[in-house]
Amino acid sequence: MSFVEYSEFIQEGDVAIIFLGHDSMMPIKVQQGAQTQTRYGVIRHSKDLIGQRFGTKVTCSKGGWVYVLHPTPELWTLNLPHRTQILYTTDIANITMMLELKPGSVVCESGTGSGSLSHAILRTIAPTGHLHTVEFHQQRAEKAAEEFREHRVGHLVTVRNQDVCKEGFGVTGVADAVFLDIPSPWEAIQHAKSAMKKQGGRVCSFSPCIEQVQKTCEALAGQGFEEISTVEVLLRVHEVRSITLPLPDFGPDKPLETPTDTRIPSNASVLCKTTTPPREMAGHTGYLTFATKPRIHCLFYLQFVYFGLIMWI
């Protein structure tokens, strides 16, 4: 098991997702001799998991059964231990496409937070890309680095424990894309720019508040970014339901014998398959601001001329 490569069978040390039922899951670390308590009873790792195929049904001690699933970044996002607010799959999907991530991309990210987005980025840029992720909270940075190793993606990522607004990403001129999820992204735009390749690239900032967006857009424009565009994306879930709709009974054509007729009204009804919206849904996560860094001309050009002149003098 790895977060960037499927395997068929469950092995010692793997992360697996126990699927207990509709929207109910839990992540486990598979260990020889270990046991996991679920509401359907105990799962014994050595006997029930190790050597089994991912996706199989496992019968727990109380007779109930669960499925054991191969981890994916999407399942991880739903199951990870929250150390911060995290990004969810709907936003992540758009971030990934709009940042044009693909195998081989070099990406800078800050903050790492709980690593929800990081895992999705790593999945997409493997096996030849690299993620430089910056988190100024020491424990979070350490925990994330540990998780990356456990999930066998450690070789694809560098975690830096520093303040991105002050010290930047720790790299210059290497990134194809930069992503920011910090309270004051506008303070990091300059660093984002210098982390990016000189032939340009894409940047995205996620902010819950419109005031943050406003400042970020100003900073982006100020730094010469182009195609600045802000969007908001939501996922609407349609819950499939079979519903029964009673049909009204308008009575027979001929008049009723007496006004007090006790005729039993027909209780005909129709069954339909339809969907209903959930009673509540996420109505706002944050605004996604994207921009393109154009290829640099001026700076390099001037430096060139500058050195040319120095040689002449």
Binding site: V4, Y6, G55, M97, P103, Q199, G222, T275, L302, W312
Partner: protein, 533 residues
């Protein structure tokens, strides 16, 4: 780009003054006079925060690091000396004036990284962009390209860097453009405070349509025309700053002849198809495609099945995410796979080695184990004409392809399934899900919700899948401007529906030992595998 053709730009009052800022990021206050403003607005307009003229001097507030500006000013100092006469006869001056410092020079300075990769070549698939309009084309010499009711030749794009903006000049030739922003040219214009004096009588613009045509014929470029329009608009000065900006934007859009040449990407092509030809891609919106790729966990090294009738956009998107690692099997209906859209991605040739195809009319036979992909000698009796030979070779190739794809499918261990078609999604999904390994994601797109409801119901009855979700994605774009931030007035009403889920094994652990009837005959599989070795 900053050229030395206009030396006036380079003069300014004082040489002795130094920059009086010390740290990065701090706005730098410079008082070098209006020539400097002009110069800065030519070279780096994005750095100017504000420019103010007082009686005594002109103030420019710029952002940027010290080294950038000191280089700039150092350079200016020398040039100023040169042009002002004292060095007129010096070597330095002749060097400077002989250096038509243009793009070529920049490119020389620029090519520490491998820039050859960044240049447009003949035969490349590129995307043209103007505003938010895109068009995918192939670079062919002497070929007329029509974009936005305008025609031109892409010959001059060859050898230029991706991301370059060109002006279309007379005769349909492209000319690389210097980055100069018309907004900044208009920055210093006076603005009215409100619009109470503006009469919309259609007479405020003194230039007529004919005038504009004349200007165009004179070879005036888009930006210059916009400038002319501004100068000839009687109401422009009375308009509020907001309205001025809008006016410039509107006119800019109408008269600018610029085209940007971009490298294709899934993002750009998905937006292009959605904007230009949504019918061709079953109205699949870009954000919905983004969900599909993520929910499907599409990544390098996996084996993914794709069934689509979206001109190849979905297939190309999947291939981009796989980066040439792993395998993609296109399950196609009808006579042959449709994938014009894949070409537009401009993938390197080795990507094709990962792409396989399998006609869906053989799916049942494959599942039943009766698909025969052995070499057949149908044409054996025929006369060995070259035509017949050719046909035979083609048939043989087709058979080999079929056999190769069959081997990939046979193991029923694919890692992902992506469906986006105009077909009823129910039979497509129920037929193809059988090829997936357990614990793998699948995602089905349909423009309509009801067929997916049916899909959902059938799949629930049949089992073999968990985490079933029927969703659609909602996207809203924003206008972000100082004090004028709000959602864009029009939005897309819908981007189609997705059914997603994860496969699981259908057998219960208790009956593990019982033979399952749906298993394909082992003998056939062995035969197929042998054949391709």
């Amino acid at each position: 780009m900053f050229e030395f053709d206009h030396p006036t730009v380079l003069f300014y009052n004082s040489l002795s003054r130094r920059l009086d800022a010390t740290t990065w990021n701090e706005p730098i206050r410079v008082d070098y006079g209006e020539r400097l403003i002009h110069l800065l607005s030519t070279i780096c307009p994005e750095r100017i925060l504000n420019a103010k003229e007082t009686q005594a001097s002109t103030w420019v507030y710029v952002v940027g690091d010290i080294s950038y500006f000191s280089i700039l000013l150092f350079l200016l100092g020398i040039l100023n000396e040169c042009y002002s006469g004292s060095y007129k006869s010096s070597l330095l001056f002749s060097w400077l004036s002989s250096q038509k410092i243009r793009r070529e020079t920049v490119l020389m300075a620029d090519n520490e990284d491998d820039d050859s990769q960044q240049r447009v070549n003949e035969g490349d698939y590129v995307v043209l962009k103007r505003g938010d309009i895109y068009k995918a084309v192939q670079i062919q010499k002497k070929k007329k390209t029509v974009f936005e009711k305008q025609w031109f030749f892409l010959d001059n794009a060859v050898g230029e860097l991706y991301g370059t903006t060109f002006e279309v000049v007379s005769g349909g030739t492209l000319q690389p453009r210097k980055p100069k922003h018309v907004e900044h040219a208009a920055d210093a214009k006076e603005a009215g405070t409100d619009n109470r004096h503006i009469l919309d009588d259609g007479k405020s613009q003194k230039l007529t349509r004919d005038d504009i045509e004349t200007l165009k014929e004179q070879g005036l470029k888009g930006q210059e025309i916009v400038q002319q329009l501004i100068e000839n608009s009687t109401t422009f000065r009375d308009k509020t700053e907001f309205a001025q900006e809008k006016y410039i934007k509107k006119k800019k859009k109408k008269y600018e002849n610029s085209v940007m040449v971009l490298r294709p990407s899934c993002r750009i092509l998905a937006m292009m198809y959605h904007g230009r030809e949504p019918g061709k891609i079953c109205h699949l919106r870009y954000d919905t495609l983004a969900q599909m790729l993520t929910l499907g966990n599409i990544h390098a090294g996996s084996k993914v099945l794709v069934f689509e009738t979206c001109a190849g956009l979905v297939l190309g998107a999947v291939m981009e995410r796989m980066g040439g690692y792993g395998s993609v099997v296109q399950m196609y209906p009808g006579g042959g796979p449709v994938r014009a859209g894949v070409e537009s991605f401009g993938f390197p040739p080795h990507f094709n080695e990962t792409l396989h195809e399998f006609p869906i009319q053989h799916v049942n036979a494959l599942l039943a184990g009766t698909l025969d992909t052995d070499a057949k000698d149908i044409d054996a009796g025929r006369s060995p004409t070259s035509e017949g030979q050719e046909k035979k070779v083609r048939m043989e190739e087709k058979r080999k392809k079929l056999a190769a794809a069959a081997v990939l499918l046979q193991g029923r261990n694919a890692d992902g399934l992506v469906i986006a078609s105009r077909f009823h999604p129910c039979p497509v999904l129920l037929g193809l899900i059988k090829f997936l390994a357990p614990s793998r994601p699948f995602v089905v797109y349909s423009q309509y919700k009801e067929p997916l409801i049916e899909c959902y119901t059938k799949l629930r009855e049949q089992g073999g899948a968990v985490s079933l979700r029927l969703t659609d994605s909602w996207i809203r774009h924003y206008q972000v401007l100082p004090n004028r931030t709000h959602p864009v007035l029009l939005m897309s009403g819908g981007g189609g529906y997705l059914l997603s889920g994860t496969t699981v094994t259908t057998d219960t652990p208790k009956v593990n030992t019982e033979p399952t009837s749906v298993e394909e005959p082992a003998a056939k599989r062995v035969k197929l595998e042998e054949e391709t070795e």
